[in-house]
């Protein structure tokens, strides 16, 4: 028995005879224009993949520079003003140009129509437009960088950003304003698609959890982003005309800016993490051959996070002199929003129970996600707790917490998703050993980078410091060392995934033996996705259905 059962479920077709399908979405048309004018959601997903990867490595380069500068207590690599531009660019690019669009733009675009059995998203032209809008915003951000940079921090705090800096604040604000529209268009497209385009039999509770989490994230994009747009318009107007809507000297209220900004920017972190949670659900189910434990709870916890997520923004302002009673309410709501995330973690853990688990690369990334996100989430409770927040806020503790959630959570999930659906997107497998090595490297490097920052934070080192007291150097050096390992871990996938495009093994339509509709069609899928619209006649994550189907196919062929 033990010899028959390997420790992998990967089942590739016989490589000597296997071929990629003759016609698929990549080779359907040729030429640059066929890509730039495409309305195919899968091609747009690839456009997004290239662009978010590009911006990720630019943002990552800035992270590297920041960590290098912090090797020594004095600002000796770069001066303080340059350092400030570095962390501003790192924040703007990573948040607005990488984390927000990464999973929805790449995986969401690619998979939502496939998963619900549709030929495309509801509004293909809008989808293409959203990519162009994103690129316009990205280009403008780079323009702000090339013209001399911007040093507001990604939070654009007034009146600093409006009256006290002479860098390219308006350019940067407009860049983010424009990028926001890309996110709104994506959100509208996803919601309409999920509501109106599901194939026959695909009821709400037969939807993969990936769709639930994208649905919740889309709600946040649609309702939150416009408020950021208003805020940035007001900031730009105030700066252009020297008026004082946020300037107390002229009768304005700087706290109003904080309220408006965080009304978007807190939900934004759920925009970044929810799609990642969707990826984790798919991967864990597939590699433990089990339906997700408590599917309904996981689905509704996504919606609950989206709902509560809108009413916790003031926890970014606890020390800013807000009313103590409103602080009490917002702290309570913050505690409540932590619960759905805890539910998800335990549901994933218990999905493993009595499963039949294998440890392919996507699964390793997901384990990494669970560990890091648990730490990230629990340290969030520190910051949601009023009295604790006073000491911890604005220090490296916040930096560490945020990176644990966004990088340990969001980015790990993105990598899990890319590895999981790579064979579907390209039709080829990547080398398994080196990809596992990359997953482990990332996990170790990440912890080495950000665990010391928790300690730094409790010691009181404020964030955004170009220079710091010498007693904090040891921990900073540790962190920089970790960042080096982490950077290496992120470079690896770039290399072997590129390699796999030409030399990877042919994956066949369903290498992981997964149940989703996307796995029941060829890899890479044909342009029209489904020759005839499928009928969802089984429950989601139904591995028996899959086994029967496979058996039937074998018998018919045989």
């Amino acid at each position: 028995m033990s010899t028959a059962i390997g420790n992998t479920i990967v089942s590739l077709p016989d490589q000597s005879t296997a071929r990629l399908p003759k016609r698929h979405y990549i080779n359907n048309e040729y030429g640059l224009l066929s890509w730039l004018l495409t309305e195919d959601h899968k091609r747009i997903a690839l456009l997004y993949l290239f662009s978010v990867t590009f911006f990720f490595f630019i943002g990552g380069a800035f992270a590297g520079l920041i960590r290098l500068e912090l090797l020594t207590p004095q600002p000796d690599l770069v001066a303080a003003d340059t350092y400030n531009k570095f962390f501003t660019m790192h924040g703007l690019i990573m948040i607005f140009l990488f984390l927000v669009p990464s999973i929805p733009g790449v995986l969401g675009n690619f998979l939502i129509p496939l998963m619900i059995g549709a030929k495309d998203l509801a509004f293909p032209k809008l989808n293409l437009l959203s990519w162009y809008v994103y690129m316009a915003g990205g280009t403008l951000t780079l323009a702000a960088l090339v013209l001399g940079g911007v040093d507001t921090g990604w939070t654009f705090t007034t009146p600093l950003s409006t009256h006290y800096l002479n860098t390219h604040v308006i350019t940067a604000a407009m860049a983010i304003f424009i990028t926001g529209f890309s996110s709104i268009l994506t959100g509208i497209n996803f919601i309409v698609t999920i509501h109106r385009m599901r194939c026959p039999g695909m009821t709400w509770f037969r939807m993969p959890l990936f769709l639930w989490s994208h649905y919740a994230a889309s709600l946040l994009m649609v309702l939150g982003t416009p408020v950021l747009a208003t805020t940035l318009v007001l900031v730009a107007l105030e700066r252009l005309f020297g008026i004082g809507i946020f300037d107390p000297a002229k009768g304005g209220d700087p706290l109003l800016f904080q309220h408006l900004f965080w009304f978007y920017s807190h939900p934004a972190v759920y925009i970044m993490i929810l799609p990642g949670m969707g990826v984790v659900s798919e991967v864990i189910s597939t590699f433990s051959r089990k339906r997700i434990f408590g599917y309904t709870a996981v689905a509704f916890s996504s919606v609950a996070i989206a709902l509560f997520g809108f009413f916790v923004w003031e926890h970014h302002m606890f020390i800013m002199g807000v009313s103590s009673y409103s602080a009490l309410v917002f702290s309570l709501l913050t505690m409540l929003v932590a619960v759905p995330s805890a539910i998800k973690i335990f549901n994933w853990a218990f999905t493993l129970q009595k499963g039949s688990i294998t440890f392919e690369t996507p699964m390793l990334y997901c384990f990494g996600f669970m560990g890091l996100f648990t730490i990230g989430g629990l340290t969030g409770v520190f910051l949601g707790s009023l009295g604790m927040d006073i000491h911890l806020t604005e220090t490296y503790f916040v930096v560490a917490h945020f990176h644990f959630v966004m990088v340990g959570g969001g980015l790990m999930a993105f990598l899990a998703g890319i590895h999981f659906w790579w064979p579907k997107m390209t039709g080829r497998m990547y080398p398994e050993t080196i990809s596992k090595l990359a997953a482990v490297t990332t996990f170790i490097g990440f912890n080495l980078t950000f665990l010391p920052q928790f300690v730094l934070g409790y010691l009181g080192l404020p964030r955004r410091y170009a220079a710091y007291p010498p007693e904090f150097q040891v921990l900073n050096v540790l962190s920089t060392a970790g960042a080096t390992v982490l950077g290496f871990g992120y470079m690896l996938p770039l290399l072997y995934l590129a390699w796999s495009l030409k030399y990877g093994a042919i994956a066949g339509s369903n290498p992981w033996q997964a149940t989703g509709l996307e796995w029941q069609i060829a890899s890479p899928p044909p342009t029209e996705n489904f020759t005839e619209i499928p009928i969802m006649d089984h429950e989601v994550y139904d591995y028996e259905w899959l086994a029967n189907k496979t058996k039937k196919e074998v018998t018919t062929v045989g």
């Binding site: 059962i5 420790n7 479920i9 303080a80 400030n84 040093d151 009146p159 600093l160 006290y164 800096l165 300037d247 107390p248 000297a249 408590g294 599917y295 020390i319 800013m320 002199g321 103590s324 505690m335 619960v339 805890a342 539910i343 973690i345 335990f346 853990a349 218990f350 493993l352 009595k354 499963g355 039949s356 688990i357 560990g371 648990t374 730490i375 629990l378 340290t379 409770v381 520190f382 949601g384 707790s385 009023l386 009295g387 927040d389 006073i390 000491h391 806020t393 604005e394 220090t395 300690v455 409790y458 010691l459 009181g460 404020p462 964030r463 955004r464 410091y465 170009a466 007291p469 007693e471």
Partner: protein
């Protein structure tokens, strides 16, 4: 915390000596640290639990040992458990944190007051006795100190990690924070809200002194003029005394003893007169007209620096009678030279 004090001291000092933990130098610090240790234990417990579950299930139900998965829909009992237990823990944290918040932000009534002005990129401390400090603050040990803080330009944040206190210093409004230092020594002061190019240079030292040393320091560093005295000169030179002089013909309300009283405004609102009210009334007088008076006071927005405002506030705060104000009027009327105002009192320092 039920932890024995000896054990507590041992733990905290050990961590501090290993440079993993800030010094506990205020009465609040142990309370904050207690919650912190609880939260750290919660995090370790939670993470370990998840890790153990994942590792155990992975080992027990790996494909070799468990070739066929058993499908489970879920379990209401289990799911309720892991909804309720985290919720309960989080609620404990919530209540604990809220109590701590009120402890940190509600000053005791006997606290001594020091003014702090933040500006790009320095901290100015102004003691009521007229001692001025830049990027430094001397305070006595064992006595509650309340800081009334304001920013002259952008958001700053007054952070003293060893005291576990921090509060945003905001332009246009006073914010306060208090502490009671327990150990003599020097402690780092940071600006923790990003405030522009030299943000990381906006740091300083808090020096905690024994009451005796503090008294000596106060005497040696006095500028000869208390804040209230500066305020008195400003009060005359800005012409405040022509209306606010408590005479029968005065066009403005009498300010003697007004601090801390309840005032009725023309729009019927009842207002407690505190530092913030006085500052607002000088800058935006028409929104703060005392009932029975005409809205004729001009605004002093742009004419007084935050330091000047603090001087005035401190003067009005300590004004027990109108005697001296009326004296200045008499001096002015009799053609003798009015008390001269030192130029730095009104302008930038």
């Amino acid at each position: 915390m039920g932890l024995s004090p000896v054990l507590w001291q041992f733990l905290v000092n050990w961590l501090h000596n290993a440079s993993l933990f800030p010094a506990e130098a205020s009465t609040i610090a142990p309370y904050t640290d207690a919650l912190y240790f609880f939260l750290v234990l919660m995090t370790i417990f939670g993470t370990t639990l998840v890790a153990v579950l994942v590792v155990f299930f992975s080992a027990r139900y790996s494909r070799q040992r468990s070739p066929v998965a058993t499908q489970i829909e879920g379990s209401t009992l289990l799911e309720t458990t892991w909804t309720i237990i985290p919720l309960a823990i989080f609620l404990v944290v919530y209540v604990w944190g809220a109590l701590l918040y009120f402890r940190i932000y509600n000053p005791p009534t006997n606290a001594m007051n020091i003014y702090i002005v933040g500006k790009q990129w320095m901290w100015k401390a102004e003691h009521p006795g007229g001692q001025h400090e830049i990027d430094a603050l001397h305070v006595p040990m064992g006595r509650p100190v309340q800081l009334t803080m304001i920013s002259q330009d952008v958001f700053h944040s007054f952070s003293v990690p060893d005291f576990r206190i921090k509060r945003e210093v905001i332009p246009g409004r006073y914010s306060t924070v208090w502490f009671e230092a327990t150990k003599a020594g020097n402690y780092r002061l940071f600006c923790s809200q990003y405030c522009g190019t030299q943000h990381s240079g906006m740091v300083g030292w808090i020096t905690v002194m024994t009451p005796g040393d503090y008294k000596t320091w106060l005497e040696q560093s006095t500028s000869g003029q208390s804040l209230a005295q500066n305020g008195e000169r400003l009060f005359a030179s800005m012409g405040c005394n022509s209306c606010h002089n408590g005479t029968a013909a005065a066009r403005g309300p009498d300010l003697a003893g007004v601090y801390g009283s309840k005032l009725t405004l023309t729009d019927g609102r009842q207002i407690l007169v505190d530092d913030a009210y006085l500052r607002d009334a000088i800058l935006n007088p028409s929104a703060h007209v005392t009932a029975g008076y005409a809205p004729i006071m001009p605004t002093y927005q742009g004419q007084l620096s935050e330091d000047g405002l603090i001087d005035l506030v401190e003067f009005i705060k300590n004004m027990q009678s109108d005697y001296r104000v009326q004296q200045t009027l008499v001096t002015a009327a009799s053609g003798e030279s009015a008390p001269t105002t030192p130029p730095q009192a009104a302008g930038e320092r």
